[in-house]
Structures are given as structure tokens and as C-alpha cells.
Symmetry: C2
Subunit: 483 residues, 2 copies
Amino acid sequence: MHMYVVEKLGEDWIFLVLLGITMALLSWTMDYASSKSLQVYKWMYSELRGNVALQYLVWIAYPMMLIIFASLFCQMVAPQSVGSGIPEMKTILRGVMLKEYLTVKAFVAKVIGLTAALGSGMPLGKEGPFVHIASICAVMVSKLMSTISGVYQNPYCYTDILTVGCAVGVGCCFGSPLGGVLFSIEVTSAYFAVRNYWRGYFAATFSAFIFRCLSVFNKDAVTITALFRTNFRMDFPFDLQELPAFAIIGISCGFLGAFFVYLNRQVVLLMRRQNTLTSFLTRHRFVYPGVVTFLVASLTFPPGFGQFFAGELMPRESVNSLFDNFTWSKIWNSPVPPGLGKSAAWLHPDVNVFVILLLFFIMKFWMSAVSTTMPIPSGAFIPVFILGATFGRLVGEIMATLFPSGILFDGIVYQILPGGYAVIGAAALTGAVTHTVSTAVICFELTGQISHILPMMVAVILANMVAQGLQPSLYDSIIQVKK
Amino acid sequence: MHMYVVEKLGEDWIFLVLLGITMALLSWTMDYASSKSLQVYKWMYSELRGNVALQYLVWIAYPMMLIIFASLFCQMVAPQSVGSGIPEMKTILRGVMLKEYLTVKAFVAKVIGLTAALGSGMPLGKEGPFVHIASICAVMVSKLMSTISGVYQNPYCYTDILTVGCAVGVGCCFGSPLGGVLFSIEVTSAYFAVRNYWRGYFAATFSAFIFRCLSVFNKDAVTITALFRTNFRMDFPFDLQELPAFAIIGISCGFLGAFFVYLNRQVVLLMRRQNTLTSFLTRHRFVYPGVVTFLVASLTFPPGFGQFFAGELMPRESVNSLFDNFTWSKIWNSPVPPGLGKSAAWLHPDVNVFVILLLFFIMKFWMSAVSTTMPIPSGAFIPVFILGATFGRLVGEIMATLFPSGILFDGIVYQILPGGYAVIGAAALTGAVTHTVSTAVICFELTGQISHILPMMVAVILANMVAQGLQPSLYDSIIQVKK
């Protein structure tokens, strides 16, 4: 009996390690391909400097091409691969079998479609589809193992395999194993077996580890650090008197998150209604994503309207710049300090930085809500994360203007750190939209700093309390609509 | 129906908030009282400088007095209050009712006994008993609410109340809400309702928040920071080439953790055997704790043998000094650098720092294993944490001696940070002894730094793999012995 258990456990380790390696390689390859695609996009755009008409053509044609390709490819290969994937996994884990949802076809369509979508620079995320991909991968690896060894006859049931798949999916998507496990638990389950927590933790850590090592060996990163590394001062990161501001961020994010879910559902319902327009769109599936991409790309065109809301920034660049250590309202209209980097996009010589942040927030809000309804593999996590960071940054910059010399308490001057507010806003808004509290953990792992832990957890809880009272989570909303 | 749900939820918030506040106040008061007790102890000892005999008398009499008091008090008021509490809570949550385990009497005995035990400076922890205290508190608060309002007729069942109690217990014990929730899930449950994760998270955050605010208002701390704050450099905290060393820490901690559990069980079994000695001890219950305390205090007496293994350091002081930023093997036998503080205890003019660390580890290892078998409220978490930190520090100092000028990789010199090794060792050994992986999360929250996340998670997983193969967890071992 003991040997039997050891043998099963042994096989389970192999399964978890194999799953971890596969997903890490896949995640890294997709990141690599999509970042190269974005480089090409930016390179073409910058090479055409001087000719605005051609620049505009490139700026809109490149994402349109990729998005329409993704849409058609998914339509042809596997229509199940469209959308996020988390709502469907939630349904499956509740015991409802969705037809042909965990097939190789869906896998291929989702991987190719998602890479194209991410490479377009549109406000789309990676993490929802990645949960789907990882789940298919988990099923495939477990089938492979039972084929090869013959002994591996599922010591764990189907849901156990899928639960670990979800955890690895979120975990290696951002290289945040712990947050990944917790997020996948919160999002997909109502009751949870602690042994799966353990297995998910193991597989996700292994996966995240390989994922980060790949970046080191590829010289993208110097060491295995966080994705959106922050560098806030550690000694006095914030003062208790800033807490009301953090609470306001939390409560506002609750309302905003609920509104995002509402808006997203309204767009989907609008597209569902039977009329001439929608029946036309159903026949020509590429038209809708094409029009949306055209609109979004036109508005963000940097020499045009895009200059007023940092339109040139790609999703990851915006997060990095929103989390930086500068106080933009102070350096606006003064010589550019060294090391500002991409954050320079937020400083327009004629327009106030508050206006730019507000415009960015409003424009990206509806763009994200609409973009995630396109019939391509796309997640909403990162777009919402960016919105939250923008909102937090806005509050932080306002605070920094209200208290330009910092807050004096007990003989110590606490400088306001708008970047810290941005991190808290990002955690709160993603928490509100997804109805989870583990977004706080994902934030720590993404930024590599835990100094804002308590205000962040308070903000996430407040955001959840408000949002849970107003709307279902984004994933539940999609499940309801699809029924 | 909707109103009904809202009403229940409303009452549940009140329950969680009340529980959080109560436990935070209790935790803080106990910390305050025990730290004052330790101050008195140290003050008496230092005032008698020059008279070694009197110093020795104070050094052994003070802890003996407190431990014997705790032992007798618990014996008289509620014998159930003896020991950790986590094994018993695990048994209760599995559905076995233990007689008179969650009573007011047990509460009073545990609070008073634990405060005395912590104030003695013996290698004893707070977190196991605190889980017990918080669970009683949760039951009391829920009873109180149903008495007052009459409406609050348990929307959640008994186990739901206790699960949240456990989470709050660990969470506000160290001010680590997230790790607290996860640790309590891992330790107590096999299947877990996600709604309790949410409720535990809420209550534990609230509790930790109040706990930390109390410290700020009492001027113990300047702002709500971590308990054992570290200040490692953020830019290049470690290099990939240090990973083998981290893996060695993890695997060794697995073996050491299993040995700790084995040793602890052997001591308990020895005391259980029927012979003249044990029947004498059963009649005179204070003799055993008295003798153990006498032995431990005599050996740690700083002017005596204690000088060779930093005997003067109280538990929390040792953790703080083990996590510091200095490399002791480098500053040993050179002028004391500024800001060394309590860490000076580790540097003996005539004895090598490695010998001191090794002696400390060996002596404290058996002392901790024996002390936690005394019939008083006591946990093993912090003693094991200290042992792990010592072991990690030892490996770190050896690494720093092997690579005195750091590791060169890709043009960047990575200095070895022995303090980082200590953090990893602490997480790995506590993980091995308790068979949990969430000790890594508790470590992040305790130190306030997440820079070592990946190596720490790898070390914790390796330690768990080894330890789970060799021995049951400390809590399961106690359950087995008590059966």
C-alpha cells in the first residue's frame, strides 16, 4: 500500500513538472513573439517619421491585420477558443461539460490567436486565455502520461487536473505563482481541496521559475526579478494619514469595476440583439473586430488625438510608467529628469498631466470594455489593471499637489508616492472586476515590493464590498450572458 | 430573499469586525505585557553587573518563576489550555468534539499562561496558542451576537466560525493577514470553502491593521511596517548561481524539520512511560517545567556558557539580528561597525562566528524540542523559525567566506547576503516542521520584502518534499501521540 502511494505520488510529481515546463516554455515563447511583433510595429512607425499619412496607415493597418487574422483563424480552427476562458473553466469545474472545449484544435487556435492579439498593442490581456490554454495542456499531459506509462491511471480526478491547470495558467502568465494559485482558486471554485493548493503551488512555482530563468538566459532581464518591478523607498513607504485616500481609491474602484462589468455586458447584449446590423456582422465576422481596432488605433494615433492620453504606450509600457517613482505633477513643465524613460509620454507641453491621466482613463475604459468583446482570444485582467493603475496614479498626483511638501507626522516628513497609489489602484480595480482579493498578492509578485501590503489589502476589500453589492463578477456576467 | 441575504451578510461583517478588533487588542496587549516582562528581566540582570552570583540567580529565577506560575495556573484553571492548540483545532474541525476545549476558562488560562510563558524569554512561540485563543474568541463573539440581536442565528455553521477564528489567530499574531489565512487553511483543513477564505482574509486584514496601528500609536513603531523588517538591496538581491545553495538549505531543512518532529515526539513519549520518575512528575506537575527552565536558563547564562552561543538574545531579538544586513564572518575580529546593535552578541572575540552559529543551532534545537513539551501554553512556530534562520545564516556565512568578493555573472558582481539566506532557512524549516508552504508568505509579510520570493518558494517546496516523506507534521505527530 505504501509503495502504491509513493508510486502514484511519484507520477504526480512528473505530471506537475511536465505541465510546469510546458506552460513556462509556451508563456515565454508567446511573450517573446508578441513583444517582437510590438517592436516591429513601433519600428515601422518610427522609421516613417516625417510622413504622417504613412505613419497613420501603419499605425492602424498593423493591429487591424493582426486582429482580423486572429479572428478569422479562431473562427476557422476552433470557435470555442474565442474570449477569455475563465468563465468556461468555471462552468466546467462546476461539472458542466462544454463540447469540444478542451481539444487540441482549441489549443492551437487559442495560442496563435492570442499571440497575434497581444502583438497588436490593443488593450487586451493574456491571463484569461492562458488559463484555458493551461487547462488543455494539463489534460493533454495527463493523457500523454497514461499512454506512455500505462500505470498513470488518474490518481486524481478530472477536476483535480483542471484546477492545477488553471493555477499554472495564471501563475506563469505573469510569473506570480502564489497569486496565480490563489486567484485560480477564488475564480473557479466554491469548495477547494487543500491537496490541490499544494499541487498548484508546486507546479506554478516550477513554471514561474523556468519562465523567469528563460528571461535571464535570453538577457531580457538581469536576474529573476518581478515583471513590473517597482523601487519605492522602504523606510517610510506611506503614512497612516494617507489611509483615507487609499480607502477612497478602494471604494471608487468598487464602483468603477461594477460599471466596467455593466458596460462590457451591455456591449455584448447589443451585439446579440437581432437586427440588420448584427445579422450582417454575423455573416462577416471580421468586420466587427476590424471596426473596433480601426477606431481604437485611430484614436490612439500619437501625432493625433493620442498625444493627449499617452497613446503611444503599449499595455506593458503603461503599467511600467504608471508605477514609476516620479511625481509627474511636479516635473511637468520643467526640464526632463534623467531616467524618465517611457513616462515622458504622459507629459505634454501644453496639457496638464491631470487632464492626460483623466483622458487616458476615460478613453481606455470604454476601449477595454469594447475590445474584450471582440471574437478573439483575449483577457480583461491587464486592461483593467492598467485602468486601476491610472486611477490610482491620478489620485496620487492629486494628493501630491495637495501636500506638495509631504505629510508631517511625528517629526518625519512622508513624501507622497503617486506610484504607490497606482499599485493600490491596480489591485483594487482588478479585485472589483473579478470579485477576488488575491489580486493584491498578484500585485506584490508583479511589483516585487510588499511595502504597501496593508493599505492595498484594505483597498481591495473595500472595492470588493462595493462591487459585489452592485454587479456579478466579470466572469459570472459572461456566464450569464452566454447561457 | 435578497433583503434576507443582505441582512445576514451585514451581521456577518459585524461578527468579523468584532472578532478582528478583539483579537488585535488581545494580541497587542499580550505582546506589550510580555515585552515589558522581558525588559524587567534584562534590566534586573544588567543592574546586577559585577555580581555574577546574583546575576545568575536572577537569570534563572525569573523565567522559572514565570514558567512554574504558568504551569500551575493552567493546571488549576483549565488543563485543556496546555500546549499548542493547532492539533486540537484540527481535530475539532474534522468533526470530533473535544470536551470543554472552547470554554471561557480555557480562554483565561491560555491568555494568562501564554503571556507569562512569552515573558520568560524561553524558546516558546505565540502562534499555536493564539489559534486556540482566537477560536474560543470567535465562538464567544458569535454567541454574544446571537444573544444581543436575536436575529444572528448562525448563517454559517460552527466550522465556518472556527475556520475564521484560526485565520485571525495566525494573522494578528504576527500581523501577517495573508499568510495567516493560508497557514490556517493548510494546517486545519482538507477541504475548504472559498467563502471562508474571503471571510478570513477580511477579518485577518482588519485585525492585523488594528494591531499595527496600536503599535504606531504606542510609538513602538514609526509606521505600520513589518515585524522583522529587513532591508536587503532590491536591485540584485541574489544570483541564479546561488540557487544550489538555496536548494541545499531547502533539502537540509527538510531533514532537520523531520528530526525536530521526531525528537519532540520522543521527549513526549519518554515522559509518558510508566515508571517511578514519571509518576513522581505527574504528582508534582511543576517539577518538569521547573527543571527544563532551570537547565535552559543555566546554559544560556551570558557570562557562562551562553557567551558562546548568543545566550543573551531573546527570541525576537535573535530573529532581528539573524536577518540583518551585515556579513558577520567579515566583520568578526575587526572594529564594530555602526548600527550593529544586538547582532554584536554573535561576535565573540575568541570564538569563530561559525562555531557560535553552530552551537546556537544545536543547543536551541534540543532546547526548543524539549521546551515545547512543557505543560504550558506554547507554540513551536517561532522557535523553529529561529532555528531555520540560524541554519540559513550559517550557510550564508559559509557562502560569503567561499565567495568573499561576491559572484560575478554577466558583468555584475552579486554580493552574498547572509541575511537573505537566513530568511530562506526560516521559511524552509518552519515549512518542513508544519508541512505547509504558506510559511513563505508569512516570511514575506514578517520581513516586508518579497525580493527572495522564488528561491524561497523553491526551498520551501524541497523542504516539504523531504519532510513529508519522513515524518508527519508536528501537529499530526501531537495528535497521534495524544490519541
